[in-house]
Amino acid sequence: MKFRIYRYNPETDTQPSMQSFDLNLEAGDAMLLDALVMLKAQDDSLGFRRSCREGVCGSDAMNINGRNGLACITPLSSLKQPIELRPLPGLPVIRDLIVDMTQFFKQYHSIKPYLINNDPPPETERLQSPKERAEIDGLYECILCACCTTSCPSFWWNPDKFVGPSGLLQAYRFIADSRDQATAERLDNLEDPYRLFRCHTIMNCVDVCPKELNPTQAIGRIKGLMSKRTV
């Protein structure tokens, strides 16, 4: 099995390069992450993040044959060889497949990703009907892997100004939550030529999301709320 993997160590390399690897492995049921772990056993300098190996922690997002995805839930059998692996695009590379996610998280934090409800909490739970609860399905499941945001050309151009699909999906997760009271404040926070409106519905985000979520739809709903309140 053949690989071409992006290598870069700022201590020793003036510029990145693609390194070829050969692995004696039948694709079978194995995932891409299994292959990476085996490659690391051969060459312990190969750098990548990984943890849960089941697609819920969001550590091992990378660019796989040109498309962002999670290595742990990408079957080797689905990939054309040589398998080309690069770090997520649009973020600074720390080393090899490891990117600096500071900007991504900064945007996430900027949308106030927490429930705002200023009523004193009741003694038991706040009630929410199953229908109200269903409004946040397809939103709360985000694993912050950054596959979507780093596939978005609008984010590549304005990573400091455009919140990006993941952050906006989370913004809508709180707007859509019947328990949250800060919708107006949240919309104000996004009322800006860049923060929300740099989304041009390119829809790369929807295409790559490993959890099959739909940030474009969430962004559309925020825009809808925004225009409703201006008329």
Binding site: N9, A41, E125, Y140, I143
Partner: protein, 587 residues
């Protein structure tokens, strides 16, 4: 070599459910807190918990904390400390409501309350009938919980040290804990983090086994650090094998599948749990179900061409239940077992899942160790919560959904205790001059090692030994040989060599340091398992098939130095209610 020092009120190591629940309370109290995590907080392994968090809310069926407490004591095979168990079960409803107020997206009943599902060992009326006690957010409860806690910590401006690895505990001559030595992974910079309180919430060590539901990061770092600093590890022989790991991949399939009505079948299509647990059947405790599965496989009734697994059937639940209550399971089954569970059963096998043992604490999260004749003296400045701690609420076998509960109850309680303790302890103690020496010499050894074995080779050897010698059923000859072999592997682990010496995000170095911790845990587990001559909860001895309360109703304490064992009594007296007396455990 001069090491930079920073000083905090509290250092929390680990940012999973327990660490973040504690951090939230500590930040809100205005303390200067540093929370260290090897990974970005939402990547912690709490994120993978699926089925639910236990609390006797009674939203669906009648319930109360006494029944929850009884189930937990019984589930622990009477090794759990009844004071801690009472404390946890009583606090459960309150902490779950708190999570809801924080914004956790629980599923709902038609009346708008938190949805609850049945789970293994959760019963009404002191063990009579199944009860719906598991508070669930679909089958992603851990994800919902962890993200909610992270979000709340963002709001509280908690100071996270992301991708920092704690290397060693700092103790002075009095045995007091004064902080940790840690390394920033991105730069390999080593720093002393001094604190008046040090809280470990470093999670489990399921990666000592070959087949494990655990994440790669679950390497028992807190236990390794504690053991190297002379703190004993409690009840390490008790490791839970979850009945339903996906055959081959090891990925977890929640007990919630059986809670929603799924069941296990053998190659004849027989629902075999009826023979082993006539009342609770597939919802018996995990140790009981795992042994039943292992017995079916051993006696030739396993499925597949190698007859090495059984099947989890849930297609009869229908599309609606599967897509609404178990969507994550369907995703996992399709990806890792190549079956759509709405049509075909999932091949499953008991898989190493949870460490009941850990760093010994009382129910306030204070670490306790034998000292000067007393079995449980407080180690000043040191606290532990979550899977790395042994309170002990899980005893010899943990009930499903009690782990998330454990994180939240004791995370919150340890924070309360720390806030109180710091009031009477306003000044940091003087650091010993050799505070960073152990860590620096470990790093120097790794830097200079020549002709050593690779970390992946030695790690694989450790996992093979644990898997073959310390599994669901334990045999005397295999255990004796296992002890010898794991000590041999421990010697090899002292001379691992990494080729990559870079200072930039060196994951090879991280993995080598993790192996130091794993091997401490592996030795503790094997040593304590070989010594305990009875079967109780997750520890099933072929040569001693029964529980032996006369000789073994006691907690084990493993000391890394000299690899010796000590024992201490079980706390049978609860806080306010009568003791639940010892009974034979049937489901």
């Amino acid at each position: 070599m001069a090491v930079v020092k920073r000083t905090f009120d509290v250092v929390v190591v680990g940012a999973g459910g327990a660490g973040m629940r504690a951090a939230l309370a500590l930040s809100e109290a205005g303390l200067k807190v540093a929370v260290l995590s090897k990974v970005f907080p939402t990547r912690s392994h709490t994120v993978a918990a699926q089925g639910g968090i236990a609390a006797s809310l009674g939203n669906v069926s009648e319930d109360n904390w006494h029944w929850h407490m009884y189930d937990t004591v019984k589930g622990s095979d009477y090794l759990g400390d009844q004071d801690a168990i009472e404390f946890m079960c009583r606090a459960a409803p309150e902490v779950v409501y708190e999570l809801e107020h924080f914004g956790m997206p629980f599923d709902r009943t038609d009346s708008g309350k938190i949805y609850q599902r049945p789970f293994g060992g959760h019963m009404q009326d002191y063990g009579k009938n199944p009860v719906q006690r598991a508070c669930a957010a679909a089958d992603r409860t851990g994800h919902a919980l962890l993200h909610t806690l992270y979000q709340r910590n963002v709001q509280a401006n908690t100071n996270f040290f992301v991708e920092w690895m704690a290397l060693d505990l700092i103790r002075d001559q009095d045995g007091d804990v004064l902080g940790v030595v840690a390394m920033e992974i991105e730069t390999s910079e080593v720093m002393i983090l001094q604190a008046r309180a040090t809280l470990f919430a470093t999670g489990g060590a399921g990666r000592i086994f070959q087949a494990s539901t655990n994440a790669y990061i679950n390497t028992g770092d807190g236990l390794g650090m504690a053991a190297r600093a002379g703190i004993p590890l409690e009840d390490m022989e008790f490791f839970q094998f979850h009945p339903t790991g996906v055959h081959g991949a090891g990925v977890l399939i929640t007990e919630g599948v059986r809670g929603e009505g799924g069941y296990l079948i053998n190659k004849d299509g027989e629902r075999f749990m009826s023979r082993y647990a006539p009342n609770a059947k597939d919802l018996a405790s995990r140790d009981v179900v795992s042994r039943a599965m292992a017995t079916e496989i051993k006696e030739g009734r396993g499925c597949g061409k190698d007859a090495d697994h059984v099947l989890l059937k849930l297609d009869h639940l229908g599309e609606d239940v599967i897509s609404h209550r178990l969507p994550g399971i369907r995703e996992i089954a399709i990806k890792f077992a190549h079956v759509d569970p709405a049509k075909d059963p999932i091949p499953v096998v008991p898989t190493a899942h949870y460490m009941m043992g850990g760093i010994p604490t009382n129910y306030h999260g204070q670490v306790v160790a034998p000292y000067d004749g007393g079995p449980e003296e407080i180690v000043q400045g040191f606290y532990a919560v979550g899977e790395c701690a042994c309170v002990s609420v899980h005893g010899a076998n943990r009930l499903g959904c009690n782990s998330l509960l454990d994180l939240i109850v004791f995370g919150r309680e340890a924070a309360r205790q720390i806030i109180e303790d710091l009031k009477s302890n306003p000044h940091p103690k003087q650091l010993p001059s050799d505070a960073a020496d152990r860590s620096l010499s470990r790093l120097a050894r790794l830097e200079g090692q020549k002709n050593g074995e690779s970390v992946s080779e030695v790690g694989a050897a450790m996992r093979r030994v644990m898997q073959a010698h310390c599994g669901v059923f334990r045999f005397p000859d295999l255990l004796a040989e296992g002890v010898r072999k794991i000590y041999e592997v421990a010697e090899r682990a002292k001379c691992t060599e990494i080729k990559d010496k870079s200072k930039v995000f060196n994951t090879a170095r991280v993995e080598a340091l993790e192996l130091d911790n794993l091997i401490e845990v592996a030795q503790a587990t094997m040593t304590a398992a070989a010594a305990r001559q009875e079967s109780r909860g997750g520890h099933a001895r072929d040569d001693f098939p029964d529980r032996d309360d006369d000789n073994w109703l006691k907690h084990s304490l493993y000391f890394s130095e000299g690899r010796h064992l000590d024992y201490k009594p079980v706390r049978l007296k609860p806080l306010t209610v009568e003791t639940f007396p010892l009974k034979t455990r049937v489901y």
